[in-house]
């Protein structure tokens, strides 16, 4: 089953009842930007009939360049991705070509969930800005799996091949040092800007503290490599005993403190939403600055579920000023229309039935 849409305006409101497929449109756009779904890691799940394959074909203009991105998932599970009829051999080379920011109701998990959610947040952003970062991060994750498998093997065979462990450590350190250095250089300014936006949005004098939290920081090392070497040396026997790698950039986190207390423990619903919007707004601005053009903004159900109209309007306002395209879903046509008129943007409303 195919559906065609044409989006002629800067702001596209998509309305319709729950379950009609509003979010699917946003996810289809996200898919063309990231070669994967925003909501699931399993491609087969987003097909109209699960596991029956799909095709997403999108035409747009980026920086005055015509771009036709096509994603195909075959019934066999094979994935093909092409831009202007050029088939990618590596999907990752597409990341960053079509920058995007999504705000979805479940995103507060960034604040309330485990550290992997926050690593995903910073990685999604930095990968769009720095291609080497993405490559080194992917390499790091692959080598980490090899290292953990090796540690398991040592325990099973009762023989520790220190020469091989040393080689794999060196490979892990080479990839990890790049990621560590970039996070160290990039995150302070990024976090500071989130903080600034948070203060604006919440309109209060709350003491919000955001910091990059990494096990590599405890060493006053001359270089990132040294920090890694020391961390691995320190964890050596523990790694062997537990058969996994206890320290590294895969343990990094972002700490949120409100008045000196963990944010997720004491923040209200409203404060959480404010922080989420501050994060997304910062991502939007940074992508715009690094790329030199505005990313696409996808707002899923922000009026209903997030119930923070002021913030949504603020975000909308920023995007309209930056000339970016915005897609926004809502169950109520009247409410959506009122908001869009209020912002005074060039908009259209698509009603799904």
């Amino acid at each position: 089953m195919f559906k065609n849409f044409e989006f002629k305006h800067k702001v596209i409101g998509i309305c319709g009842a729950n379950g009609i497929g509003k979010t699917n449109i946003l996810d289809a756009i996200w898919y063309l930007c990231f070669t994967k779904s925003y909501f699931t890691a399993i491609d087969g799940r987003i097909a109209y009939t699960p596991n029956q394959g799909f095709r997403i074909d999108g035409k747009c203009s980026i920086n005055n360049q015509a771009v036709n991105a096509v994603a195909i998932l075959r019934e066999t599970g094979k994935k093909e991705f092409s831009v202007n009829n050029d088939l990618y051999t590596r999907l990752s080379s597409h990341i960053g070509k079509m920058p995007a920011v999504m705000v979805a109701p479940d995103d507060v998990i960034i604040i309330t969930g485990g550290s992997e959610e926050r690593r995903k947040m910073i990685d999604t952003l930095i990968c769009q800005i720095d291609e080497t970062y993405m490559q080194q991060l992917m390499a790091y994750n692959k080598i980490l799996l090899q290292r953990n498998a090796l540690l398991k093997q040592f325990s099973e065979t009762g023989f520790t091949d220190n020469a091989l462990l040393h080689i794999i450590n060196t490979q892990l350190i080479t990839a990890g040092s790049y990621v560590y250095k970039l996070r160290k250089d990039f995150l302070p300014a990024y976090l500071e800007r989130i903080n600034k936006h948070y203060q604006q949005i919440s309109g209060s004098n709350e003491q919000l503290e955001l910091s990059y939290d990494t096990p590599l920081d405890v060493f006053n090392s001359k270089s990132e490599q040294d920090a890694f070497e020391l961390l691995f040396a320190q964890n050596h026997s523990r790694d062997l005993a537990m058969q996994r790698t206890n320290g590294g950039i895969h343990k990094d986190d972002i700490k949120f403190l409100l008045d000196g207390m963990p944010f997720k423990q004491i923040a209200s619903q409203g404060q959480r939403k404010s922080l989420l919007f501050a994060i997304r707004l910062t991502e939007y601005e940074l992508l715009q600055e690094y790329k030199g053009f505005a990313p696409v903004l996808l707002l899923d159900d922000v009026f209903e579920k997030l119930d923070e109209q002021r913030m949504a309007n603020l975000l909308l306002d920023v995007c309209v000023k930056k000339q970016g395209q915005v897609f926004i879903t809502d169950t109520h046509k009247g409410r959506l229309e009122a908001h869009l008129q209020n912002v005074g943007c060039d908009y259209e409303i698509i009603e799904l039935v």
Partner: protein
């Protein structure tokens, strides 16, 4: 599927074990063999059985061979001072197809990958170290896939032979091998053999 003959069913089962062969294709192949003359099918199955039974792996380089030492290692015109280290036999064939390489080979039989349960002991690394120890080799060219396992294997061997005066080079990385050496086109492969780089200058590059 219902077979009226268990003999046919057995044949289909065996054929379906081959890589890339599904049950449908296996049935088609089996039915094709049934239409052939008995002698032709005999020849077919004997050829396969003989290959498996009689093939040898070269005692020097681990390449497939009909004799104890393969014809590349036995050749008097090839340079014995340059050895190209590859993952598998298909890589030997790909490099031979370029006709740009006149040295010898060493087939590792795989790459180090703990995730796949492959350690240095399962590969022909020790025999390579032994070859280096004899002192006849001046240069080792590593023609391994430019991926993590390829690098692990390269660095591991490099460490093992660091005390011997052997020059270590690698096919230029960064150029697209399409992931697998065997799929690289001959021109690209030939060029990267000529433009091989010294390993000291090489950095991790994925």
């Amino acid at each position: 599927m219902n077979y009226s003959s268990t003999l046919l069913e057995n044949a289909v089962n065996e054929l379906a074990k081959l890589p890339g062969i599904g049950r449908k294709t296996a049935l088609r192949l089996a039915l094709h063999l049934l239409k052939e003359k008995k002698e032709a099918v005999h020849l077919f199955s004997n050829t396969i059985a003989e290959m498996r039974e009689q093939i040898q792996f070269c005692s020097v380089c681990n390449n497939v061979s009909d004799t104890q030492v393969c014809n590349i290692c036995a050749s008097s015109v090839r340079k014995k001072s340059i050895v190209c280290v590859v993952e598998n036999i298909r890589d030997v064939m790909a490099i031979e197809a370029t006709q740009q390489f006149s040295g010898l080979f060493h087939v590792l039989g795989g790459l180090i990958s703990p995730l796949d349960g492959v350690g240095p002991d399962q590969l022909f690394i020790e025999s390579l170290v032994e070859r280096v120890k004899t002192g006849t080799i001046e240069e080792l060219i590593f023609a391994l896939n430019p991926n993590i396992q390829g690098d692990t294997t390269l660095f591991y061997i490099q460490k093992k032979i660091e005390s011997f005066p052997v020059k270590i080079t690698s096919l230029a990385r960064g150029i697209s091998f399409g992931g697998e050496l065997e799929y690289a086109d001959e021109f690209t492969l030939a060029k990267s053999i000529q433009n091989r780089i010294s390993i000291e200058r090489q950095k991790n590059n994925y």
